[in-house]
Symmetry: C2
Subunit: 152 residues, 2 copies
DNA sequence: CTTTGTGCAAAGCCTTTGCACTCGC
DNA sequence: GCGAGTGCAAAGGCTTTGCACAAAG
């Protein structure tokens, strides 16, 4: 993701306001590799700006997604996660106990569908999700509160 | 997925009741390749058993998932989809307009993570989602009502 | 006859929306 | 000052839960 300064510039160029709240949200995302949920961003920003509302967070995150500066990721943990890393294509590792999401920093074989298998779809992206149990959850049975849905 | 008869047998063996409602739910799933949502199963069964409640459908589907006879699939369309095809590993094609989910009937290269990339995870499954626009949505801009969330 | 399942309605969670006030530009 | 942005609270969609009644074994 771009830096706070670059994003502010981008907003101004688009005729949008650069507010304190938005800058704090940008700051919370910059270089963040934890794939936070909207609520986690809200909690993080609230430590600095106590009065910020969840609506502002959702709205700002959705704008960033629309601008293509942020990726929304729904990996079945019950909440949408946001990934600031939109520059290079990468895949994810999801813990089915605690819901943690990790980047996979490895080149995977090129995945493409021959026309025969595409069934008429115009395919625009591929997403690979590895599911398993993270190191922390393997030792002990504790779970991070309020997360993890155990789909399969 | 197993047949209605096999599933009924399985329930009996587990000491669970084989009710008319459950058999109709099994029937609606058998050989179904549309990846229906709970609500779609509900609507389908309601054509035969008018008084069935949504709770019964959710409960039965969740039991089948727990038994491993049905797969729950959250591909970011806003509702969990159910996939009766649990026998052989396969991947999915999701329409980002209408939310339709198709099976990909093709062998993909073996995807595995070397320990270095697994970051301590004990990986148990891999899921590949191809996103794009289905044939129907490419011609015309109409969308299937009440579906499709446009994540990215 | 007992235990499990059912139906209805109400609650829960995440996300979005309506409206008056505030602040960046 | 004007209009986009903000905060609060309330609504919306999907899924789960509580309780009394009905049905399966």
């Amino acid at each position: 993701m771009k830096t706070v300064a670059e994003l502010s510039e981008l907003l101004r160029a688009r005729g949008q306001k650069v507010t304190t709240q938005r800058q704090h949200i940008f700051h919370a995302l910059e270089g963040n590799t934890f794939h936070p949920s909207a609520d986690q961003v809200y909690e993080a920003v609230r430590r600095d700006v106590e009065t910020i509302s969840l609506k502002t967070v959702y709205q700002t995150l959705n704008e960033l997604v629309a601008m293509g500066e942020l990726a929304a990721l729904d990996v079945g943990t019950g909440t949408v996660r946001f990934d600031p890393n939109v520059e290079l294509a990468h895949h994810h590792l999801v813990c089915s106990r605690c819901g943690e999401v990790c980047d996979v920093n490895m080149e995977l074989p090129e995945l493409s569908l021959p026309d025969a298998a595409a069934q008429g779809y115009r395919v625009s992206s591929v997403e690979v999700v590895f599911r398993g149990v993270c190191r922390r959850c393997q030792g002990g049975t504790r779970r991070r509160a309020g997360d993890g849905k155990e789909l399969s």
